[in-house]
Symmetry: none
Subunit: 129 residues, 4 copies
DNA sequence: GTGGTCTAGACCACG
DNA sequence: GTGGTCTAGACCACA
């Protein structure tokens, strides 16, 4: 069952963080069509959050066509985001290796995030060209 | 002079994006103590944003001790965040290589961001242990 | 509940006066961790001021780690400044005695403030040595 | 010759700080009618400040009738603020004693300022009644 | 022209 | 109803 996390200092709205985490989990194949999301109550137990906020996130996911609420039984994944490739596990482990090297080079979390943001940004720039 | 960018869809508040970009630039050594930030009005010209929002970001940076606003002349970097290591260029190019491999494997931007978020998250979790 | 006051003639920015009053109240033990500050709207009702200005003061206090804004419920004290000593009540009454003597000697408020500013200034100077 | 000081962190406009310091010095009898204020150039040498700002402060003091600019020779005190009493030296030394006791009780500058602000505030309140 | 403060008012996220 | 973000626009202090 998906475990949500909330970063209260990030400035990103809570409902948005939930949505992003579900989307990411679908994209990574962690959640597959038919899988159930934790119930609102379970989420409330996991992290301190207002049930309405969870509802809102689930509603928006449903509007995006990604999930389906079945009255009485829960919320379920409907669609895959089909980015899953067979190379994915390898890519993930390579990334984790890189992270370890960055840490060994003395970079803290913020430094690593700076590098990642920089690299992602130049990638997006190139994409535009 | 630093060029700001705004991602209006990300859910991250604009002032926060500006702060992060300055912090990152300092961490990557792109901005060094004594360097000037673009004036509030220049930022307003660059990206469409209200001067107050820029001002707020600059003020928060000043409260963090990173910058100093000098009335009549501009806003300047005060402190370094000195995460810069000699390995940095190599790390950056390795990351960019990884990104290219991920793209070649058919991952789109959202898929890549999912992988990166996942990897960063597990790294932070491990850090706690 | 803390009652704010604004001296519009002092030249001190309004948001700064609010911050100082909260800090002082914390230092005097009038406000303790867990206590609630008046809501932004209450402050607006109390003194004539723009909500944004109050908000700015509260936000700066939060950045200083002294308070915490909880959406939906209010703003609360987080940290003590713990300068409170058992001698404090005695010191306060001695100060008030001195003030009465100064008034009896014919000094007006501005004259008293001049003396206080002078004494505080020499104290700070000595502190540097 | 009066020595100006500027507290850049106080939020109080520089020209206002200069004015206040002259007023206080007159009130404490440090400056008496006929005494000369430092020339603009001298002030600029003392503290880092724009000559225009000093000019502005001197102009406002003249508007208040407190000083008089004599072309070619300088700016001079015209009026006393006549708060000077024979008790004043004694009051000042008593205040300084009190400050020493407060420091000995472990209070830092901010704690002392909190007490002083509190006492001055209640005095003003009573004054109104 | 540059930073800084303040008001007014809209809209959002959350409980 | 509470905090938070953003825009618009005025005015001030300073170089």
């Amino acid at each position: 069952m998906l475990a949500f996390r909330l970063d209260r200092k990030s400035g990103v709205p809570a409902y948005r963080q939930l949505i992003d985490q579900v989307r990411h989990a679908i994209q990574l194949g962690i959640l597959r069509p038919g899988d159930q999301l934790p119930t609102v109550r379970e989420v409330v137990r996991q992290i301190t959050i207002n049930p309405n906020t969870v509802h809102r996130a689930y509603r928006e996911l449903e509007l995006q066509g990604l999930t389906e609420g079945r009255t009485g039984s829960g919320t379920f994944i409907r669609k895959s985001l089909s980015e899953i490739s067979s190379h994915q596990p390898k890519l993930l482990s390579q990334l984790e290796q890189w992270l370890r090297r960055a840490q060994d080079a003395g970079l803290g979390i913020e430094g690593i995030e700076a590098l990642v943001a920089e690299a992602l940004h130049s990638m997006k720039e190139e994409g535009r060209l």
